[in-house]
């Protein structure tokens, strides 16, 4: 989100059914309103499309990490067995490629999994001890929420947001204000 001063005033629309929620998003976006944040208790199918998010590139990161693991494993074992300390194991070749396959595979998976999970945590701001802004505690329970930034907005604009939420099946619409540094 950058280092710009965070907004402290929000309007929250809460829904209790994901299908109504998805339709509401379509209508609200159609009316040109900007949705600041979307919170749901579980992954809702079709939500990214409704919000117009682009595809995540996490899988590309996973592939690159995996490829790093493959390269590292193969080159390290080659260096050890064929160059650094060549040993004769029962007449086997010094570069026994088939023997390298299991470890190469394991390291590919290991690098890919760890790399991807770390990337995921960094991108999602998931750090042990990080205290996030909780707009509404029920969004991890049974409510689907849209958050609208109302900092510097006129009361007519705020009214428009609220009426659009209410008109699209929201079960509750309310203001949410944070103190600085909260």
């Amino acid at each position: 989100m950058g280092a710009v001063k965070q907004s402290n005033n929000f309007v929250l629309g809460l829904w209790d059914h994901e299908e109504v929620f998805l339709h509401a998003i379509e209508h609200i976006r159609h009316d040109g309103l900007e949705i600041y944040e979307t919170l749901t208790p579980f992954p809702v199918h079709g939500l990214e499309e409704a919000l117009g998010y682009r595809q995540t590139r996490l899988h590309t990161a996973g592939f690159l990490f995996g490829a790093t693991g493959t390269t590292l494993a193969l080159s390290f074992m080659t260096w050890v067995m064929a160059f650094n300390y060549p040993l004769n194991f029962g007449g086997k070749p010094y570069w026994p490629l088939p023997s390298f396959i299991p470890i190469t595979f394991e390291l590919t998976v290991l690098f890919s999994a760890w790399g991807m999970v770390l990337t995921y945590c960094v991108r999602n701001k998931l750090i042990p001890g990080y205290v996030p802004r909780i707009y509404e505690p029920r969004t991890t329970d049974d409510r689907f929420a849209l958050v609208f930034d109302i900092e510097g907005k006129s009361s007519e604009e705020i009214e428009k947001i609220k009426s659009l939420c209410n008109g699209n099946g929201a079960v509750e619409v309310k203001n949410r204000t944070f103190k600085d540094g909260e």
């Binding site: 208790p41 990214e48 074992m77 026994p96 299991p102 470890i103 701001k125 505690p137």
Partner: protein
């Protein structure tokens, strides 16, 4: 909007539910105290203590305190190792392979099964490490620059592959499990009353909030981790079987081992999941989420893998005879009819015969039968590893060195102690972590719950003047009563 599911399919969430009730019932076990839980924790905690004590005893006096001898130099320890690793496999199978196959029944059981995987791998890892004798040198198994040349580890050795396979398996399973836990910890945090409880669960949740972007990445991550874990879980037990298959011991040196071990691992893992889940669903009153339908699905996998294992046993015997190779024939004759015939008998009856009951629907859906058979399968699978390892070594190439294996009290206590460690960890998990993946259960609510099916049936009934099918399936009955 969501995937279509036939309303004739049995629901995976029973009872009249909504998202609020689901959260209440699934977070509930972490918010109450159970007297029985303390009792069990004390019992199994003592057994875990016994485990620590006996391992210390082993380290202090040396491997001589085990029943191993010059001929039988792998016995209970490696049996236990393979047994625990095998048990672990069901967790990954449920979370990864069933995710790729889009089997919705996994959502009820995946969390506990993954936890079981992690605890089983912890137990498994102890055995080869302590079998090394000088545990303080255990780091020698890793390829690190050393002052001995540097003399590296042998990358040709399946034992070294195992080091990589099992450590990768453990850490990837842990990531998979924990990435799924974060959203559920956030659910607990947002309901928490006390300040410290809120703080601790916030730390555990890594500050999860559940924004659309987080969920988008979450879905992508779990899909790819599932894709990675699927070949990983197959590779791990394949490599464990290589420990035996690449040796030249008659009875071990067989090409059928990898698929046979993998099937056996899934078989024993599902049995352990059933043993644990049948207790968990009862104690925590989760019968609506771990339904008889779930149990039946697992029993189908048990009868499939049990039969694969049975075919493997018979194929081994056939190939030993067909090979015309005297030593192989002798090894298998010994295995079935030699001095360990009782172990072979236990293995055959528990693993091959007993699961055949699951061809019949009433048996698959009977909880007592399932519980009994799940214990049988666990016993049978322990004996399978014992049979493979010990009978192949006992009567070796020289008649003068033939031997019989007698476990000492240390062997027995370590085995029992490892069960204690496993159960202690599992009990702690049950008490403080959500046993069922809350977010995942909610995500199948609209497709597969009895409530949603009944709602749809009502709509259909209004438009078409009655929908007989669902009333016969008993789905509407519950709704009608309320």
């Amino acid at each position: 909007m969501h995937a279509y599911e036939s309303d004739f399919r049995e629901p995976l969430i029973n009872g009249n539910k909504n998202y609020t009730i689901i959260t209440d019932e699934l977070v509930g076990p972490t918010e109450k105290t159970y007297t029985g839980w303390w009792l069990l924790l004390i019992i199994f905690g003592c057994l875990a203590g016994l485990f620590v004590f006996c391992l210390s005893w082993t380290v202090f006096f040396g491997i001589g305190v085990w029943g191993l001898n010059k001929t039988i130099d792998w016995a209970w320890d490696i049996t236990n190792f393979v047994w625990w690793i095998g048990i672990g496999h069901a967790g990954t199978l449920i979370s990864a392979i069933l995710l790729l196959f889009r089997q919705r029944f996994r959502t009820g059981i995946n969390r506990a099964a993954e936890a079981m995987t992690i605890f089983a791998v912890i137990c498994a890892g102890m055995f080869p490490v302590f079998h090394m004798g000088r545990v303080w040198n255990a780091f020698f198994i890793f390829p690190y620059p050393n002052t001995r040349g540097p003399l590296w580890v042998n990358f040709n050795s399946p034992l070294l592959w195992d080091v990589f396979a099992i450590s990768t398996y453990f850490s990837v399973s842990l990531l998979f499990w924990y990435s799924g836990l974060m959203p559920d910890f956030a659910t607990i945090r947002d309901r928490a009353k006390g300040k410290y409880r809120k703080m601790i669960y916030n730390i555990l949740s890594f500050g999860w909030t559940g924004t659309a972007k987080q969920w988008q990445r979450f879905e992508s991550l779990s899909l790819i981790l599932a894709g990675l874990s699927t070949p990983l879980v197959l590779s791990v037990h394949t490599i464990v079987s290589f420990d035996f298959a690449t040796s030249v011991i008659p009875g071990w040196h067989t090409t059928i081992f990898p698929p046979y071990f993998v099937a056996g691992a899934i078989f024993s893992g599902f049995a352990m999941v059933e043993t644990l889940m049948l207790i968990v669903r009862k104690v925590f009153k989760l019968e609506d989420y771990i339904t008889v339908n779930h149990i039946e699905s697992m029993n189908k996998i048990i009868v499939l893998t049990g039969s694969i294992v049975g075919i493997a046993y018979i194929t081994e015997l056939f190939i030993a005879w067909y090979s015309g190779y005297m030593y192989e024939q002798f090894a298998f004759y010994n295995r079935a009819l030699g001095k360990y015939w009782w172990a072979y008998f236990m293995m055959m009856s528990c693993n091959v015969l007993s699961p055949q009951a699951y061809w019949f629907k009433p048996a698959r859906r009977n909880l007592w039968v399932t519980f009994g058979l799940s214990i049988f399968v666990n016993i049978g699978m322990w004996f399978e590893r014992f049979v493979i390892i010990v009978t192949s070594l006992a009567d070796d190439f020289l008649v003068s060195s033939w031997a019989y294996f007698q476990p000492t009290w240390v062997d027995i206590a370590i085995f029992i102690g490892s069960i204690g460690l496993f159960m202690t960890l599992f009990l702690l998990f049950c008490r403080f972590f959500p046993v069922i993946a809350i977010a995942e259960v909610k995500s199948i609510f609209r497709t597969s719950s009895a409530t949603a099916k009944a709602e749809r049936a009502k709509e259909l009934g209004q438009s078409s003047g009655g929908f007989v099918g669902l009333t016969t399936f008993g789905i509407l009955d519950k709704d009608a009563k309320q």
